[in-house]
Amino acid sequence: MQASETTIEAPPVRVAALGVDDRIRNSLRLFFHESCKDRFQLVEEEAADAVIIDLDHKKGIRLAQEQQQLHPSTPVIVISQKPRETGSLISLLKPLKKRSLAKALLRAEAQAKDPHNSSSTLPSLQIASAPVASAEESGDDVVMEGVPPTSAGYQIARHLADKDLQAFLGSTPDIDTSSAQQQANIRYDPDSFLQGKLRQITAMMKQKGQAVRLQFSNEQFIILYPDEEMAQINMSESRLGALSAAPISPDGLSFTFCDDLFSPDDGAAGSFMRLDALMWKTALWASQGRIPYETDLHKSVALDRWPNLTRLLLLPNTLEIAALWAEQPHSLIETAAKLKIPQRYVFGFYSAVFALGLANTGETMKTLDYIPIAADVGEKQPTSASWFSNWIPFFRSKNR
């Protein structure tokens, strides 16, 4: 990794650990030094740029609440045995895993140093909830074997974070639209992937009004329930991602209608997913920042309806693109240029809304009256075209 020679000259991020015992404290200290090359420094609460709180400690929840009230802008990483509703706090499950901890620290660092930073959005939250190795219960130090031999943990973690984003949005640079080759490289056939199979099977299911079981090899399956619009998935997130990212071979998937009734208590915790969330995610995995074959890059796209974005995987600039297409049709290329974002972000979002049937290229969106915005009585309209834009990055930072 070429970044390993990079010298990190920034002052260390000061991190306080609250509600943790001395052993964990020492482990963190060692982790900061050995794996993070002192990019982070353990300090007392008063001097902290970021805070780690053990929610399982008897005062953990109160500490977290106090922290939010007294220091709302200080990033907080909470750790707990069981998943908890933690709002925008950065959440980690025990047993702690070095990779997850490093990524959580990076997010906290980004929040602490730049409240407007929006680069670390939701994907990393999901990664943070997947415990693998035990640090606390096995008695191992936080620094464990099996982690890439190291250059700075910081660079490793950043590399991993980038890879997580790549899984959904790829890494293709912006294309030159006059190049046929480059245009071809950003296209894929959704029907060859799980995304397309899901769309076809879901349509049949809704017509028939009966649950359907998708059977993969190795006894892995997904059951779709039409009335509840839910999916039961008996495979890991990474396995689902792998299945979604590669074309499905003809014998790789079969499906049968069944009489299964939706029963959330039957499945393992976390094995249920909303159908729209499943279709959204499988589309992003398949797309990897590409667009369906027949998409016209220069044809205006409107959003028929807003996706339920509070319950879907939110990638960078998703809200901006959605709002733009809801208000004014723009082509994919125009959208990237107007919002000054990588084209693959737009392509990925388009593929996801396409999968949900919400992308409209017929420009039949609602007629807009384009009444100039003015505040209500007595307010003058702001003069700067970017007036609202100035506020939005701040809310983005509140979104973590």
């Binding site: 733009l324 915005i373 979104n399």
Partner: protein, 179 residues
């Protein structure tokens, strides 16, 4: 140039306006709650009679003012006062109420002029308590509107949900304004 931004949170009693403002406000919110009357007590212990108020402080001394209207219609004289100077509306609808679709329609009509001048984003709360009506039923209702309105399932206690709702409103304002 004006520095501050004012956003109005509205919706029926119990929809989570106070909670949502609390979730996203940087400061302790000012709330003028009173004990609920008997008809409301089975839903919540207190209800807002004047307004809720919260602030989001920005690093450059700008502030976002968050105003929550009282949910009870007998206090609706407050609504017109509160929306003055507002730049957009967040409508929270309680999905566990008897007819949340009618509630939605009522508030969209009641604030129709204001919405026409600005923008609205809608959050449907308590879908964990009552899963119906579904969002697509709300969407069907919203299809009658002239604009494409952001509509999300929201847990008013979760800052991220409220933040996404507010962001969608701001982005809608931003892109509308550039025309």
């Amino acid at each position: 140039m004006k520095k501050d931004l004012k956003i109005i949170f509205t919706g029926p009693v119990g929809a989570g306006k106070t909670t949502a403002i609390n979730a996203i406000s940087d400061t302790d919110t000012v709330s003028t709650n009173e004990s609920s009357t008997d008809e409301l007590r089975y839903r919540k212990n207190t209800t807002t009679v004047a307004m809720d108020y919260g602030i989001i402080n920005m690093v450059d001394s700008k502030r976002v003012h968050l105003y929550g209207t009282p949910g009870q219609e007998r206090f609706d004289f407050m609504w017109d006062i509160l929306i003055q100077g507002g730049m957009g509306l967040v409508l929270l609808v309680d999905n566990a109420r008897p007819d949340p679709l009618e509630d939605t329609q009522f508030f969209l009509q009641r604030f129709g002029d204001f919405i026409q001048r600005t923008r609205v984003a809608i959050g449907v709360t308590r879908m964990d308590i009552s899963s119906t009506p579904r969002l697509n039923e709300y969407q069907t209702l919203l299809d009658e509107q002239t604009r494409n309105i952001p509509l999300f399932e929201v847990d008013a206690r979760v800052r991220q949900d409220v933040s996404i709702l507010v962001q969608s409103l701001l982005h809608s304002l931003d892109h509308q304004k550039r025309e």
